[in-house]
């Protein structure tokens, strides 16, 4: 399936980078393959993923609309 292989230690070391999509495609495939075959690593991954989702839904904030409107106005004025 994939030429690169990862063991449990490597997999868990890279779990944050995998979640943030900061690993290259080859390594990403190797980690995905490892997770499919290793319950323990899959649990570590899922807990981190759940935590990310909880953080995301609790801390989502937007740049105030008024600020965006001002930025947009300035850009439009660039002509």
């Amino acid at each position: 399936m994939s030429e690169v292989q990862v063991d449990c230690e490597e997999c868990q070391e890279q779990v944050h980078e995998y979640l943030q999509r900061e690993v290259n495609e080859e390594l990403s495939k190797a980690i995905t393959a490892h997770l499919a075959n290793c319950d323990h690593c899959d649990d570590v991954y899922k807990i981190e993923n759940d935590l990310n989702q909880v953080i995301r839904t609790s801390c989502e904030t937007e740049t105030p609309e008024e600020v965006i409107a001002r930025i947009r106005k300035h850009i439009a004025e660039l002509g």
Binding site: R21, D39, D43, K46, E48, S58, V67, I68
Partner: protein, 234 residues
Amino acid sequence: MTALAFSSPITLKRLNSKAMTTKDPALEAEALKLLQFEQQAIPLMPKLMPFAMEKSQYNRSEAEDLMQESFAKAYRYWNTFEQGTNVYGWLKKIVKNTAINRGMKEAKHQQVSALDDMEDFKLGEDAHSVTARANRSAESEVLAKLASNDVQDAVDSLKPEFRAVVQMAIVDGYSYQEIADILGIRIGTVMSRLHRGKKTLRETLYNYAQQEGYNVDAAAKEAVVKEAKKGSKK
């Protein structure tokens, strides 16, 4: 609410009418931030527009979207900009990274769907490790029980340098390179702050869950403590 750069979604109307007459520190800080941004960042727009055009294959509307996204980002993290250093260089990096991310979104989509295909292999696997599954679901349950306020408080209680990275990486989805450029730190530092920040969050959230009297399963406790120990040994 918990945004790094501003403490609450204050509207400009409120800012304009009240900031100068009240002693509300949050309002005053927000007003100062906006003032600085208008004085230092906005005037550089004409100078950055040609760069945005270049990064957008000279498509005007694409360049305008790129500028808008970049300046919104710059405003959001204005407080992390080190006053007195090169504003133009800082903004240019943000435009550059935003352009890269916008271009990469499509490529990433393709990569993600390839991963999703591989995930399907998992469906056929044996659920042989029942205990491990129980640990995970117990910890996930603890997470699910916590109120949104608890999570916000936990994020707010992180040291500012950790909070910034957690917010940018997880909530805003910025790339490590973008975070490194905005904060003026190395990518390795971004990674270690993200790892440590998340580890601290897990411990804090678990403590909250206990304090609030949730029936925290022994298996979940074991899972969290084990992970925390493993992390601290490194």
